[in-house]
Subunit: 142 residues, 2 copies
DNA sequence: CTTCTTGCAAAGATTTTGCAGGATC
DNA sequence: GATCCTGCAAAATCTTTGCAAGAAG
């Protein structure tokens, strides 16, 4: 039983073909995928898989922190498997590949600054970086 | 001629009723608005305003840094007028109101860290905070 | 065997596009 | 007057929902 299967089971969710297919597709993709892309690719593993299930499953997996949602340049959102812990993603503007990195503690001080500037009590954040992955840097150098 | 009118004209764009309506609606709204909400409210000022124009205009205004796009908890995106300079937004999870705050320089060091951890060259970022605005903090205290 | 999930189909919502008429400069 | 913009209508997408059948525990 893999990590995520244990996790789902522990939270009282059932292990189904659809859920397995979706997580498998995500874990094998080099780039984050949109719900419909996941559906299309997932049908190779679970023939009857439909969009409704994909949307419902992604919502569930996101709540369980098994997948992470990212926003692409065009504003469309996509998903990638989430590494454990508090992390953020960086997306390559050229090939779209994503990497994750741990959130730093410098946040405490930023939160304090923002709180002072705006009066808002800071409770959470959405942080995502854009950049160029190692491969595309090499490509660009040519 | 207001600030943004000058800006658009300088970039070679025309000043039209639709664009005026959209910016006016945004600047008067206490919360970020979705494209269709902008369209609905904008029709009070420009009767024939349609969704197509709103979408096209928002894209343009975003490129000109006159509006800023934010993502709400549900993942839907919305727009608010952009203050000049490099800023980020914080959204209230209760009433939805947004405030903007300046980006800090601590980013340089974060970028370096991430670059080392992932190999990506950092070029840009999407940062948005979530929290509770002063009014809603008071409300909650009751 | 009980409860959770799925998948379909349909509805709802959002976003994009082509193009003719109209507005701006 | 030339060019840019708009607004309509339609199409293309994307997302949600209700419900009956099927699967998991």
């Amino acid at each position: 039983m893999s990590e995520w299967e244990t996790r789902l089971a522990a939270s009282g969710y059932r292990l189904t073909a659809a859920r397995r297919a979706i997580l498998q597709v995500l874990s094998e993709s080099p780039v984050p995928l949109s719900p419909l892309e996941i559906c299309r690719q997932g049908q190779a593993r679970c023939t009857s898989l439909g969009p409704a299930t994909v949307y419902r499953t992604l919502e569930l997996l996101e709540k369980e922190s098994l997948v992470r949602r990212v926003y692409q340049e065009n504003g469309a959102c996509a998903y990638l498997p989430a590494l454990p812990g508090h992390r953020h993603a960086i997306l390559c503007r050229s090939c779209g590949r994503a990497a994750e990195f741990p959130g730093s503690e410098d946040w405490e001080s930023l939160a304090a600054l923002v709180q002072q500037a705006t009066g808002y009590r800071v409770e959470g954040h959405l942080l995502q970086l854009m950049g160029l992955c190692p491969d595309c840097q090499r490509e660009e150098a040519k």
